[in-house]
């Protein structure tokens, strides 16, 4: 009895007693599985798991690393203006932005490529990103593109397509065998790309219309939920892109700057109301043309500025920054976009910034700064 006390008390750790061994085993039995579970949940035990970091790594593999720039839609310019709600949407959504009030808007036009110095004529997809900040302190961000549907339906397909269409270092072009294998496994992408190729490409940013691609849900004051997709439909008459765009590698941006300097440009926010059977979880599938469309209000853009500290350069246009009154649908791409945008933002935020290809001087005077 009390042998432990006589040689240092119950806190004595040496020489090792039997209950010490039992205690250490019990601690190991608790701590080791908890550490294992933590590592598993964090993805460390599954090297093949598709994470937001791997998706952004994929962009960096395909486009190279351009410090300080977005990993996709890297070349862009900041815009500002306002949105005036029509009031037509208040029955569908309680979001303050749809009331017949005017909300300040900031945003960004970009080309959908991960290279910040890509010549405009090498791009086919243009994007508009918007941030609405309503008087009640809420914010709505949306990133929309001038394509009718998205080429893939989930993050895994997105990643696989990104790598399959990466240029082969030997040829500078995607490996046809890899692309073939991807398309064989993804008939939905083949169908979606058919729609993308059939669409007429606009001559510029201001006469293009931009689509949410993903479905969302509008929530009314009484809690009713309506599946929707939305579009910013240009007021400017559509003009198809001409094949010859001249020597100006920034012609899309220069045309935008010149156009806004002459006066405000407008779009109508059209909400397409989904019906039973319309795909909400598959952005590759278009909704029928006959669906009801509601004009929710008018977007006016009257200001363009080059990317710089604190403006659109430093905003993550996460599609799940939503006000109450708009909710995500069951589309798995939305959460994946939110995750990947966050990782892209985190990486570029900590990197030294260099000026955008669309420089402040160019925004001041696009006529004298014709690309480079």
């Amino acid at each position: 009895m009390e042998t432990d006390r006589s040689s240092g008390g119950r806190y004595r750790l040496w020489p090792i007693r039997r209950n010490m061994l039992v205690g250490l085993c019990a601690i190991g039995a608790v701590v080791i599985p908890v550490v294992g579970a933590f590592a598993y949940v964090g993805g460390f035990l599954i090297p093949d798991r598709l994470t937001q970091a791997r998706i952004i790594d994929g962009f960096e593999t395909v486009n190279g690393v351009h410090p300080g720039f977005r990993r996709n839609h890297a070349k862009g310019v900041c815009i500002a203006g306002h949105f005036t709600g029509s009031g037509n949407g208040v029955a569908l959504s309680k979001a303050a932005v749809f009331a017949p009030v005017t909300t300040p808007v900031t945003g960004r036009f970009a080309v959908a490529v991960g290279k910040p110095f890509v010549p405009d004529n090498e791009t086919q997809v243009r994007s508009m990103a918007l941030s609405f900040r309503t008087a009640n302190g809420e914010e709505w961000r949306t990133g929309i593109n001038d394509i009718p549907v998205f080429p893939v339906r989930d993050a895994k397909s997105f990643y696989d397509q990104l790598l399959a269409s990466a240029p082969d270092p030997a040829t500078g072009k995607p490996d046809p065998a890899k692309l073939q294998a991807f398309f064989a496994a993804h008939p939905e992408t083949v169908a979606a790309l058919k729609l993308l190729k059939a669409r007429p490409v606009s001559s510029g940013f201001t006469n293009a219309s931009y689509n949410s691609l993903n479905a969302f849900r509008l929530i009314s004051a009484t809690g009713a939920s309506t599946p929707v997709r939305w579009s910013m439909v240009a007021n400017e008459p559509f003009v198809p892109a001409s094949p010859a765009t001249g020597a100006d590698t920034n012609y899309l941006f220069d045309d935008l700057i010149a156009r806004v300097s002459k006066g405000p440009v407008q779009w109508h926010l059209m909400v397409t109301v989904g019906e039973a059977g319309d795909a909400t979880a598959d952005a590759t599938v278009p909704w029928p043309d006959a669906r009801k469309r509601i004009d929710m209000g008018t977007l006016t853009i009257d200001h363009v500025e080059a990317e710089g500290p604190g403006n659109c350069r430093d905003v993550n246009f996460d599609p799940l920054v939503l006000p109450s009154g708009i909710k995500p649908s069951d589309d798995p791409l939305l959460s994946a976009r939110s995750a990947a945008y966050s990782t892209s933002f985190t990486r570029r935020a900590g990197e030294a910034k260099t000026p955008s290809q669309v420089t402040p001087a160019e925004v001041q005077n696009p006529a004298t700064a014709k690309g480079s």
Binding site: R17, V30, S335, G350
Partner: protein, 196 residues
């Protein structure tokens, strides 16, 4: 013999926060490696983090009003330093991790939605570099928190299984009330015979 328990309210706060913090650490590490589940995990992460911050303030106040029972008189100085130091660290992290999270979202100019239209105001100005620094700090502190919680659990088990000094029971007891002496210490008696 160590005979005092923590007050019942202190024990309630401890175990409530234990569940919340462990859940939070797993949600935090998990959402950084999740695509489809990212959004709903983040939607829990932010309000849960603020709840932990509020409870940490309640808990610190409670600890000042209702001090912890003294450690056993025969506990060696080194263990006392380790015990006090780890508790100071745990309290500091309960405040620091959520505050850094709030600060980093502020520097990102990212809306901090708690529920519905209820948003938290920013506590720092927008700054991309500040965001990047706080974002890294948030992860480093969270991993430190996880390690400290594990050390805390290991220490509690040492008290329960090896030292058998009543310290574990002072927090693990489910009895109401604090200052009544604990019943005759069965564990210590059992140890005495087991050690024969």
């Amino acid at each position: 013999m160590h005979t005092q328990r923590f007050p019942a309210f202190s024990r309630l706060l401890h175990w409530l926060m234990a569940v919340m913090i462990v859940a939070m650490l797993f949600i935090g590490i998990g959402m950084m490696a999740s695509l489809t589940d990212y959004h709903w995990l983040v939607s829990i992460h932010r309000p849960l983090g603020i709840a932990i911050l509020i409870l940490a303030a309640v808990r610190l106040t409670n600890r000042m009003l209702n001090p912890a029972p003294a450690l056993p008189s025969d506990m060696p100085a080194l263990l006392r330093v380790a015990a006090h130091g780890s508790h100071v660290l745990l309290y500091a992290l309960m405040f620091a991790v959520p505050l850094v999270g709030w600060g980093m979202l502020s520097a990102e100019r990212y809306p901090i939605v708690l529920y519905g239209a209820l948003n938290l105001p920013p506590i720092l100005p927008q700054s991309d570099m500040l965001f990047a620094w706080l974002r890294t700090t948030h992860t480093v502190l969270a991993v430190l928190f996880f390690v400290t919680v594990l050390a805390h659990v290991a220490a509690a088990m040492m008290h329960a299984l090896v030292f058998r000094d009543g310290v574990f029971e002072s927090m693990a007891s489910v009895r109401i009330g604090a200052d009544t002496p604990a019943p005759p210490h069965a564990a210590a008696a059992a140890r005495s015979t087991a050690d024969l």
